[in-house]
Amino acid sequence: MNIKYLKISLTEDFPAIRLIIAAMVITFAAVVTIYKYVDLSDSVSASFSSTETTILALSDMINRVFIFLPLYIFVVSGARLANGLGNTGILLQKSRAGVATNGILKVFFYTVLFAVILLIIVTATSQAAFPKADDFTRAFFGTSSAYGFRSDVLSETPSKVAVTLVTTMFLTYFTIGIINFFLSILLKEDAAFVLTVIIGIGAEAMIVQRSSALPLLPVVIVIAVIFILLSFAVLSRKNL
């Protein structure tokens, strides 16, 4: 593992244009979602709090599965995880395991970057529209079951629920990023992108449908570890 090389490869393939496009689309989606809850709170004549709308916007089926996830894969696959430099990368790294470590660290870095951008935009939009509150509001009690939240969620504080949701969401995203890294070793960038989008949408839709994603978290971590080991194994044999 060569720290100098990691620094070079992070700055060389930095997907700045893709991140800007992603930020624009996220802003658009966030505004649309928050607008939906403004309409809803008018119709039930009770205001949500900003943390609740953040939770609702992040757990919204269409947002999470069909907008944020493809955007995340779009950003991560733009980083050229495996085939940026090809076999020259292996020479520069001096080891094959180094290339795999480098790719996984890259996935992690871009996941964190994407998460920060996403959270800043969504929380800023919901704070512009709704006031702050420490406990769950009446509007959320009335509508939460319609959005698939179980009653045990309501006994916690909103900030705890938000933190749990964000952690689960980005661990699954990170796993999907690892799968994209593994596929980009085997295939071309385009094919890896399309395959990951199909796999990711299927997996994420299954997780969201079960509403409470917490019990699945160990499975997600195990899948991530399996794919990390697989990419090490494949990279030690295959030329890029």
Binding site: V25, F28, A29, V32, Y35, K36, D39, I62, I67, P70, F74, G78, E189, D190, F193, V194
Partner: protein
């Protein structure tokens, strides 16, 4: 005069190439399935209801599929260099803009004509009664395909990946389709541009405005690219 002749010969060769491209036939097949399946599955369906069931939501992709990524393919296979030598170093980006657009237009129009033929064969009285709406729908399919294929073609100069260029117009279109009803912008609802009778009545003025804006944007991107490549060589 010689330049004009060169441009026209290139235009017609390219046009002939489109109609032998395998991706063009893939697009036709997918389009026919998207049109004919609802026609036979939905109860008491006519041309207009079958056309506005699935087809409007896949149309930008079907228009971009046949020929839009041709620039990337030619760069990959080095055919672009050969073409450049043959044309004396001149760029052909703008000429191709129109052929790509025509290809996209036909990719949407031919399946619709097929659907019209099938529905006429099954129930010709219903088709004759509905002639105004059918003509209106058919007339919009060609400009729609032209504009979206041209947009995807312009995207190939910006992005690195072939698939992203083809998918981008479709993604934008679906994003706006999802968002506009929530934002009280229903009169700009994008599927109106290809299926004006999908619900309510569409306003033709906005549809033409959208077509014109997208046409101009993609043409400007293509012209900028052509100027840049001429400077390079």
């Amino acid at each position: 005069m010689k330049t004009l002749k060169l441009i026209f010969s290139f235009f017609f060769t390219d046009l002939r190439r489109i109609f032998t491209e395998p991706t063009f036939f893939t697009s036709l097949l997918l389009g026919s399935v998207a049109l004919l399946a609802p026609f036979f599955i939905l109860p008491s369906s006519s041309f207009v209801t079958a056309q506005s069931a699935v087809f409007p939501f896949a149309a930008p992709f079907l228009a971009a599929l046949p020929f839009a990524a041709i620039y990337k393919t030619e760069r990959e296979t080095k055919y672009a260099d050969l073409l450049k030598i043959r044309r004396g170093g001149k760029s052909y980006a703008v000429t191709r803009f129109f052929t790509v657009g025509i290809g996209g237009g036909f990719a949407l129009m031919i399946p619709e004509i097929l659907l019209l033929a099938v529905s006429f064969f099954i129930n010709n009285a219903a088709v004759m009664d509905d002639l105004f709406r059918i003509n209106y729908t058919l007339a919009l399919s060609f400009p729609f395909g032209f504009v979206f294929a041209a947009l995807a073609y312009a995207m190939t100069f910006i992005t690195r990946s072939k698939i992203i260029a083809i998918i981008t117009p479709e993604v934008l279109y679906l994003l706006f389709t999802y968002a506009f009803p929530y934002l009280d912008l229903e009169k700009y609802y994008p599927p109106f541009a290809i299926a004006p009778f999908i619900y309510g009545v569409a306003d033709l003025q906005y549809i033409y405005l959208m077509f014109a804006a997208m046409f101009i944007v993609s043409l400007i991107i293509t012209i900028i690219f052509e100027i840049l490549t001429v400077k390079e060589s």
